[in-house]
């Protein structure tokens, strides 16, 4: 416990973790678009999952009601988040767990490293966890001489290849079976020489590779999908059984959880356990979900630590127009339906949270200035909102963050770009029905201004494309006048 200053909510610190890219989105996207194999792999995988998701969502008659419930449970939780966290702490402690509070990535990494050291172990097994990717835990452990073994198949592929995750659910989505086969053949000790690229054979190779590790592991590190404030219960939702192995067999379990993952009551899970599997892998239910509460004598780890992480979440909560990004349950449906994500892949976003949700979450966790190009990484088509199981209005939030970016630059007396000014103006105009109607009529008047080129500073946009003719009348005018038609 170290003394700290009060003041503005802190954003995620620089120099640790994986929330910031080395390149801006447009530069990274340009590189990604040149990679034909990547685009083929992504197109193949995302179209398969889109079809599956639509099929299983259509089976649920009350899907829209469930989405509303998910949205309002999350909003109600955020409105009293501090109280739910205090209750969670109390319940976990009462059942034999130890709760730690980490303001940022550095503090969380220090806590986990010290906990592992205290066990005398120099290796841990890990359940796939976005949060520990976010804070760069594996690197911090490595610096302390502790080896972290990723056990999720896709995380294993990424780790063996010394690569970065490119998708929330399937971190190796950018690799096809042939590439995965080659990565295993090159980096996996003892892999059979005649390994094929049949997915069954690849899964079998991963099983053999990790089996001994699971059976002898003494310390595991996990994330959490949900935590129940009432009871202190933690949940991990998974498919392969690597999660069960890590949560059950070791003596010590360390769970790192973002503070936004808490929900008030057990009953709330009846909503999320319907929304999450159908939205993420397109299954009615994922193969395995584990729930545990503190320590149970004779069953599972006898030492349990829960690390509650802020790392920019409070800063996100402070923005009323942006806080619902914290409602995300990490299903990745918005990635799979996004035309931008499908073409550029996850790496271009520079953060462990790619795609539409990443474009609104990453800039809020780091401060908009550090991920300034992400709110522009979208065509605002709205597919992400329709797919989101908790109804996060990502398109509206993107426009809001673009405006925030412009405002912050103005405050620093730096000149915003023409596009940023335009977006701020659009946000102001679209926020009010009357303003929007006037703008539409104004555009119509522009028909009389001949020419296909915009004047500076907007000439960059028309350098490579023609300015379309504004319509003769706006939709609003047409709607108002339609009864007058014969």
């Amino acid at each position: 416990m170290t003394p700290v200053d009060l003041g503005m909510p802190m954003v995620a610190p620089r120099g640790v973790g994986h929330l910031r890219g080395e390149q801006s989105f447009p530069d990274a996207a340009r590189t990604a678009l040149g990679n034909e194999q990547l685009r083929r792999n992504l197109g193949h995988a995302t179209s398969a999952i889109r079809a599956k998701r639509l099929r299983v969502v259509a089976e649920v008659d009350d899907w829209e009601q469930l989405r509303r419930a998910g949205e309002t449970i999350k909003a109600a939780t955020m409105a009293r988040l501090d109280e739910h966290l205090a209750r969670l702490e109390q319940a976990v402690t009462a059942r034999g767990g130890v709760v730690h509070w980490a303001r940022d990535a550095d503090e969380a990494n220090r806590i986990v490293t010290a906990l592992v050291r205290a066990t005398g172990c120099d290796e841990v097994v890990k359940v796939k966890s976005m949060t520990t990717q976010e804070i760069g835990l594996n690197e911090a452990l490595a610096d302390a001489g502790i080896v972290a073994y990723e056990t999720d198949l896709a995380e294993l592929i990424v780790q063996l290849d010394n690569d970065q995750p490119s998708h929330i659910l399937v971190p190796a989505i950018h690799r096809n079976r042939r590439e995965i086969r080659d990565i295993f053949a090159e980096h996996m000790p003892g892999v059979p020489a005649d390994l094929t690229d049949d997915p069954h054979a690849l899964a079998e190779a991963a099983r053999l590779h990790l089996r001994a590790k699971f059976l002898s592991a003494r310390v595991a590190v996990s994330g959490a999908n949900f935590a129940i404030a009432d009871t202190g219960t933690l949940l991990v939702v998974e498919s392969e059984g690597n999660g069960r192995m890590c949560l059950t067999l070791p003596e010590t379990l360390i769970t790192v959880m973002g503070i936004e993952k808490v929900v008030p009551s057990w009953r709330d899970l009846e909503v999320f356990l319907q929304l999450l599997p159908r939205s993420s892998t397109g299954e009615r239910m994922n193969p395995y979900t584990s729930a545990w509460t503190g320590v149970t004598p004779g069953d599972g780890p006898q030492e349990f630590h829960l690390v509650l992480l802020d790392n920019g979440r409070t800063a996100t909560l402070a923005d009323e127009a942006g806080r619902s990004a914290l409602h995300c349950i990490r299903c990745s449906a918005c990635l799979n339906v996004c035309p931008v994500y499908e073409r550029v892949g996850g790496h271009a976003y520079g953060s462990v949270y790619p795609g539409p949700i990443g474009a609104v979450l990453s800039p809020q966790l780091t401060g908009v200035e550090d991920n300034a190009s992400l709110p522009y990484a979208s065509s605002l088509c709205g597919a992400c909102f329709d797919a989101c199981p908790v109804r996060i209005d990502i398109p509206a939030m993107l426009v809001h963050l673009r405006a925030r970016h412009v405002e912050e630059r103005e405050k620093e007396h730096r000149l915003p770009s023409a596009e940023q000014v335009a977006m701020a103006a659009a946000a102001w105009t679209m926020a009010d029905g009357r303003r929007f109607a006037r703008a539409g009529r104004g555009a119509r008047l522009a028909r009389f201004a001949r020419g296909r080129r915009l004047p500076p500073p907007l000439s960059g946009w028309t350098a490579s494309r023609d300015l379309p003719d504004p319509p003769q009348h706006t939709f609003r005018d047409w709607w108002r006048d339609r009864d007058d038609q014969p």
Binding site: T72, M78, L81, D82, R207, R284, T289
Partner: protein, 203 residues
């Protein structure tokens, strides 16, 4: 000020003092079929098949031992939890707190369950005496699970309402699987690769 105090006061300031929005629970709390009904049981069987679990239906409890024996096939070392009902397994090894390596030497495990959800094909274990600690249904490669009709509910809300969250819970929907290679589902990774469910229709 500790990190705990700093985080809690920062969260309090950030969330503001706005009203707590009302939670809309207009979704269905029960499914179309009553708990334990033949329709609910039939739906469960259908959904289990869909996820490539093996299923044997028996009419009454006296059919369990035969179905379990058939399901076990050639398995010679069969692990059972300490409270498995008498007569389900003829020659089982009772769990004695075996180390993970010893569990790995078992050919199969036989347990009961806490509840099953038909719509999603999900079976839940809650570590009661007839199910045992979590590790015994994880390490052996073959899990035979007996589900009685009275334990079958239609919907997820009904399933959750029957569970005690403070017990260690494992929700199982088919054998272990992965979608990590090109987002296509492949059965059989780290958990038991064979899940065989014995359903007791009048149980």
């Amino acid at each position: 000020m500790t990190s705990r105090e700093a985080m809690l006061s920062a969260v309090r300031a950030a969330r503001g003092d706005g009203d707590v929005p009302e939670i809309e629970r207009a979704y269905a709390r029960t499914g179309s079929h009553p708990p334990g009904s033949p329709e609910a049981v039939a739906l469960l069987v259908d959904r289990l098949f869909d996820y490539r679990a093996l299923v044997t239906s028996v009419q009454r409890a006296d059919g369990i031992v035969g179905a379990v024996t058939d399901a076990l096939g050639e398995a010679s070392r069969v692990l059972v939890p300490v409270g498995l009902p008498e007569g389900w397994v003829t020659d089982g090894v009772v769990d004695d707190g075996f180390a993970p390596g010893d569990l790995d030497g078992m050919d199969a495990v036989v347990t009961a369950c806490a509840v099953a959800c038909a719509t999603t094909g999900t079976i839940v274990l809650d570590a009661s005496l007839d199910q045992g600690r979590r590790a015994i249904t994880l390490v052996p490669d073959h899990h035979v699970c007996v589900v009685r009709a009275s334990q079958v509910v239609d919907s997820v809300p009904e399933m959750m309402a029957r569970l005690d969250p403070t017990r260690p819970l494992t929700f199982i929907s088919g054998p272990s699987a992965t979608s990590d290679i090109e987002l296509q589902r492949v059965e059989g990774v780290h958990g038991p690769r064979r899940l065989h469910v014995v359903v007791v229709v009048e149980g």
